[in-house]
Symmetry: D2
Subunit: 345 residues, 4 copies
Amino acid sequence: MNVSILGGSGYVGGELLRLLLSHPRIDVGQVTSESNAGKLVTTVHPNLRKRAHLRFCSITEIKPCDLLFAALPHGSFMKRFPDLRQVAPRVIDLSADFRLRSADAYPEWYGHPHACPDLLQEFVYGLVELRRDAVRRNPYVSGAGCLATAAILGLMPLFARNVVQDFAVTIEAKVGSSAAGNTPSLATHHPERSGAVRSFQATGHRHTAEIAQELGLHGEPKIHFSATAIELVRGVLTTSHLLLREPLDERDIWKIYRETYGDEPFIRIVKDAKGVFRYPEPKLLAGTNFCDIGFERDIRTNRLVVLAALDNLMKGAAGNGVQAMNVMAGWDECLGLEFAGLHPI
Amino acid sequence: MNVSILGGSGYVGGELLRLLLSHPRIDVGQVTSESNAGKLVTTVHPNLRKRAHLRFCSITEIKPCDLLFAALPHGSFMKRFPDLRQVAPRVIDLSADFRLRSADAYPEWYGHPHACPDLLQEFVYGLVELRRDAVRRNPYVSGAGCLATAAILGLMPLFARNVVQDFAVTIEAKVGSSAAGNTPSLATHHPERSGAVRSFQATGHRHTAEIAQELGLHGEPKIHFSATAIELVRGVLTTSHLLLREPLDERDIWKIYRETYGDEPFIRIVKDAKGVFRYPEPKLLAGTNFCDIGFERDIRTNRLVVLAALDNLMKGAAGNGVQAMNVMAGWDECLGLEFAGLHPI
Amino acid sequence: MNVSILGGSGYVGGELLRLLLSHPRIDVGQVTSESNAGKLVTTVHPNLRKRAHLRFCSITEIKPCDLLFAALPHGSFMKRFPDLRQVAPRVIDLSADFRLRSADAYPEWYGHPHACPDLLQEFVYGLVELRRDAVRRNPYVSGAGCLATAAILGLMPLFARNVVQDFAVTIEAKVGSSAAGNTPSLATHHPERSGAVRSFQATGHRHTAEIAQELGLHGEPKIHFSATAIELVRGVLTTSHLLLREPLDERDIWKIYRETYGDEPFIRIVKDAKGVFRYPEPKLLAGTNFCDIGFERDIRTNRLVVLAALDNLMKGAAGNGVQAMNVMAGWDECLGLEFAGLHPI
Amino acid sequence: MNVSILGGSGYVGGELLRLLLSHPRIDVGQVTSESNAGKLVTTVHPNLRKRAHLRFCSITEIKPCDLLFAALPHGSFMKRFPDLRQVAPRVIDLSADFRLRSADAYPEWYGHPHACPDLLQEFVYGLVELRRDAVRRNPYVSGAGCLATAAILGLMPLFARNVVQDFAVTIEAKVGSSAAGNTPSLATHHPERSGAVRSFQATGHRHTAEIAQELGLHGEPKIHFSATAIELVRGVLTTSHLLLREPLDERDIWKIYRETYGDEPFIRIVKDAKGVFRYPEPKLLAGTNFCDIGFERDIRTNRLVVLAALDNLMKGAAGNGVQAMNVMAGWDECLGLEFAGLHPI
């Protein structure tokens, strides 16, 4: 299958390229970057030295291919999508442009109107674990936000079983610096960003809309979401706090997660009684497509704390995109995503 | 004033020693350490080279002094306190032994009975900002937990004004590695601890009891507390989420904090409209006695997010102890605590 | 091919296990650990969850296999080797026990006599790039020290061409914390090790002996070696300074490296005129088997600075071991070692 | 004494401001910043909240004062110096403009002619430990490069005693990110800079010229200098390798250092037989004005390794400037520089 990448010079684009280059069923066609057109991809993605000999081209040079990945900046892909439909029969967009189903929600959270609200319904919100069949059948798939992915995968089983009091949850997301992209600024300048514990979006984070949309399939959710940047390059941990409608013992909760995710290749329930590795730990997931999920009950208050970890560039972006592609193509879902992760790291 | 330190080889003891050595009104008497008795304090606290020429002694050699600081491991001081009353007329204990007022709460949270429950009432919970007068008048003062200090200082003004719905709050504490002390283990082994985002105590953290005790002065609080270890040596950030009884605009909240803390030398309200430094950032507080507090409203849901940052060894332990000592002695509260903090760091 | 691992609970053993589990030609037989016998390997190597269902066994239970990897502590394997020859026809030892050819050098650098000096000659020093044929033909192969590997691969082409003045070189090695193994101590306790720039072995480092042995094939070398621990988990950068016998221009040096390493799959000459990635950078190599080599001339003094980077657990240990195994078995040298590395990380 | 700061928005300017604000003999007059004129200094230096209420002004508004600190970008101060002489009778310049005595050396290393080569001789190279008397008597003092300061202070006693073979030394400097200033770029973008071991200047570093100038007072030195950026915000460690003319035992070397630095308030010889803290460690020096110096002999080769650590913004810039000011004013050299440093950090 011939696959091209729009917007291949960012961190998500680079990760996609890395994955596709070692994918056994894929030929990488073109990789676009306006600012780097003509340069070797390895000038921007030095990890691909000896592995890639491609050069970036301009998006204006894009040729027909079997599947097109878009990793353009938010707001950019939606303007081009109507034209790009001619380029490839299948498109996976990793930007935020087609994640929300509601034409009203988009401007509320993104602050400007959507360029083609009529086309929103053509995309599937591509969390494979939530809607594998729709992803398989649909030509247009959207990625999901990295923080939203962790939060949704951690909470969905509980919302689907209706065990959450008032459908209310408080989500604290911790995230590494790569999630903010590759554009330098004072906020990402090493002396300022190193060792930071920075509540960069205490309220109003856009991923709240995705989480509400997906968990809202099971009732009207109350999502209280905050995001904190911490010292880490890759990685997300969401810590979600909710009250249970009725007390559940540990076995009940294990059962809910096992029934939902028992056969999922990329979800692991990580919960040991003791030990350093008893809960999900994002650093162990760098480069992998896993989402590790754990939980702990507070028996004094009937609170449940749900932990979900992933690599924001993998399960939170490019890896999930490749997983969706595998599903769309009818291949083994794990193709090209076998990396186990490093320990220690 | 002649001051001695019990338990001077740990991180809190070392920080105390550093502060007392440069305090203009203090002569440091003895510093005890059973495992290091006879050694120079600089073998353990290398930052004090050229500043300290003391040697550790055993606690059995302790002599009378004007004020005694105790920085012994939890559970150790309470066994010795009845005897130590003879050593000094004033004692500041930085362990957890005398933080809880209720004889019932101690075994519930610490898992073993208190050695002298009758004496619990003799200690003041020494957050100066909450009860300056009691600290001034009382010979026995207890320190406060580092995470509890941040949470309480951030939330107390809101609980005192009764603006919190159901007195309920979800607190997510992020904390650096020094808070776990100086004993090596696999959990603190650098290859494992570096870059960690480790939910080491999702529920059941002992500081919950202190927070409930202090905020409970204003109603029956529902405290949902979790603690996550992150990549950082010194520092705490608590992110507290609560719903407001009634909508308050930003000015109302500013007013509450200003009225409560306007004259406090070690509390800063950090809330700018924009910029990298718009919220509290613990790394800027390393070595200082500040607790920086910020907040953000979620107008969609009437949620308020309260951020509080401090250095766990300073305002979260030794610095707060020196502040309490200054109050007890009737001195300027800031003596020996003038360090402004480093930027960048 | 059936392969077992002696000493599978350490960092090198875990890395070996990770590589062998995803190697297309290998069945992993047994993995020993005395302290963890009976436990799942994932209790110690959490990255292998969902990938490994093996349990550790005791070395006393070891069964015959086709090839045996040893990742035991230094000094332990040499006592067992005479017996272990019965277990497998081929052995790759990743400890330091059989790296030195000279029976005299071992006690000089390791401080105690060798357990079986007569057998030293049976092992090949297994840097494949230096002696591929010997590795192919020999049943017993030794790994190489991680710092030594970087230094030797960087310098060997220059020593072999006899362009180094007096055969003298000053080597400064920077290394991450995983190289010291998984046993906690004060030196590796996170608050102490984090942000460290610790000259842990300014002189007398044991890898000096390996470097001298290998570079000494081309003349009597003068090796001035120092090692500094820095903030990093995985990774080594050696910075080697030498004076050239005669001035060489940049093209001459490029030519030397290209002729030596042009066909090597795991060596990349990294030297761009500008850009952030113009020299070798160890963090980009985490999880890969690459050794990246760069250089810069000081035209004022005729000095050449040679930079060599690698992942100490991969090319510096387990990865190199797998590469050697591939050579011994006559397979594609890259099998199981295809991971390109992450960027950013 | 009334002191103003030219260029107060950078990291060195901010550090100066922090030090001067708590200096008992100084009134801070004006602090200039062209890009921040009119803003509170705390918008750029958030650590000074509650400590500084000043606003930046433009350099065009500068008024006469007793002493002027300049922390302008390299190349900027020298153009203004002839005019600025009217503003203050004493000037301390922390840029590189007046560090080199030779009018020829400047363009060789800086790539452009000096704006006022005739005035070079009016400045003293302000390492107080090298020329305290000249600093005391001279109205114009230049700072020293941060890497040069560490290297020179570590090596000077050996060069002065003529114990170094051929006056030759290989210096490997490791340095944190704050030394590169506060301007964001891809090289300092957190995902790229975090965990880096980047040989940013393997040869040709400008500090080489300063080191040669200062060590050259004792013979024609051969300086082989390289600089590597590592994961650290503040801090420098130079590792210097040299051969001794004749073997010296440890006591001889101790004696050389003690005789040279025994009375120096900011130099500590750090060399223990064992322990984690046996050598200089830059992280312990953050915020202090110490330069810690250690050494180790290689008895096999007669090599001596000299380690020197400091905080690049303190002893490597602002702290050394304040020390020089204290000397110029005839005050206790330690005024305002008493901070002992933090442990752990």
